[in-house]
């Protein structure tokens, strides 16, 4: 039996992980974090850091796999294709389907929003009333932040619940790009 580090990375590209197994692992990660934090903001920051560490590896793996399958692999250097890459390819790799929507904020030119109507990682989490501002999709926000950093678009990414009547658990991943990114995009136009 080969050790895991020697296995071909391409072999597991279509592999699936048990959803329940992940739910239990994530639940334990949240309980572990809860005992060590001082408040909701700290908790979200820790989950985001956890997501960041996942994100850098996801980006590496996706780029590596992309290289081996296509003749001319592309690295996104412009903002809109990069955001589109995240909202379709990254979401498909992580969750099996693209995100539900991507929007540009009307008030600020450096904000974009990725909407997921039913985030799979938080489907079985019920936040108690005292902690209603906590959003465990902070993990996903961390992943997105790492992918953006890796692609060269530093930003601050946070997760917010935006329940609607049709989708009570809809979550918005808010991307606030660094000033330098916006200026660079303007210069390249």
């Amino acid at each position: 039996r080969s050790i895991i580090y020697d296995r071909n990375l391409n072999k597991t590209r279509a592999a699936e992980v048990s959803y329940s197994a992940f739910a239990f692992l994530f639940s334990e990660a949240i309980q572990y974090t809860q005992k060590r934090v001082s408040g909701i903001a700290d908790m979200e920051r820790r989950l985001s850091t956890l997501g960041y560490r996942v994100g850098i590896r996801v980006l590496e793996l996706m780029s590596w796999r992309g290289e081996s399958t296509s003749k001319a692999p592309k690295r996104e250097i412009r903002l809109l294709p990069a955001l589109s890459y995240i909202h379709t390819q990254v979401w498909k790799t992580l969750f099996g389907k693209p995100a539900d929507a991507i929007q540009k904020s009307v008030e600020n030119d450096d904000e974009y929003m990725i909407v997921d109507n039913d985030p799979p990682i938080t489907r079985h989490i019920s936040i108690p009333r005292e902690m209603s501002q906590l959003n465990c999709s902070a993990l996903t926000a961390g992943i997105v932040e790492a992918v953006l950093d890796g692609l060269g678009f530093p930003a601050r990414v946070t997760a917010h619940s935006m329940p609607t009547d049709a989708n009570p658990s809809a979550t918005v991943i808010l991307i606030k790009l660094d000033r330098s990114v916006v200026e660079r995009e303007e210069a390249l136009k």
Binding site: E28, H124, I125, S126, M131
Partner: protein, 135 residues
């Protein structure tokens, strides 16, 4: 064909969830529910020893004049008790689905402490939807 109530009893015999459906039920205090659940837990344990064959679980259905009580014991010692009218035939199906909902919304919820009273919004809403589907 009505479902009157659902109880979830932990492995120590404590009532962790109790919900009434439908009207016309006697209003009991929470203390009375706790006592009833504890009594049922004891009776269930005794009935598993009363069987003439050695390998028997405790009582599964208890029928009265106007109601039927179906008890589903899980492998971990948790009991799901459904109180229905005598004519209700879907108690087993409902209890199995309840167990599924419990495993999903309660066990995977990081904010729930095992064996403690269930205060999970996900569980409440999915049970309400389940009961509405079987009404």
């Amino acid at each position: 064909m009505a479902v009157f109530g659902l109880w979830v009893i932990n492995k120590a015999g404590g009532l962790v969830y109790n919900r009434d459906f439908g009207e016309g039920l006697a209003k009991l205090t929470s203390n009375e529910y706790l006592v009833l659940a504890g009594t049922l837990h004891g009776i269930h344990a005794i009935t598993s020893r009363l069987s003439p064959t050695s390998s028997s679980s405790g009582a599964q259905v208890i029928e009265g004049e106007s109601f039927k009580m179906t008890i589903f014991l899980t492998a971990t010692g948790t009991k799901f008790v459904l109180l229905t009218s005598l004519s209700n035939m879907s108690a087993d199906v409902i209890l199995h689905k309840t167990y599924e909902i419990y495993s999903d919304t309660v066990m995977k919820n990081p904010f729930h402490t095992p064996e403690m009273p269930i205060r999970t919004e996900g569980f409440d809403s999915r049970i309400a939807a389940l009961m509405a589907a079987f009404a």
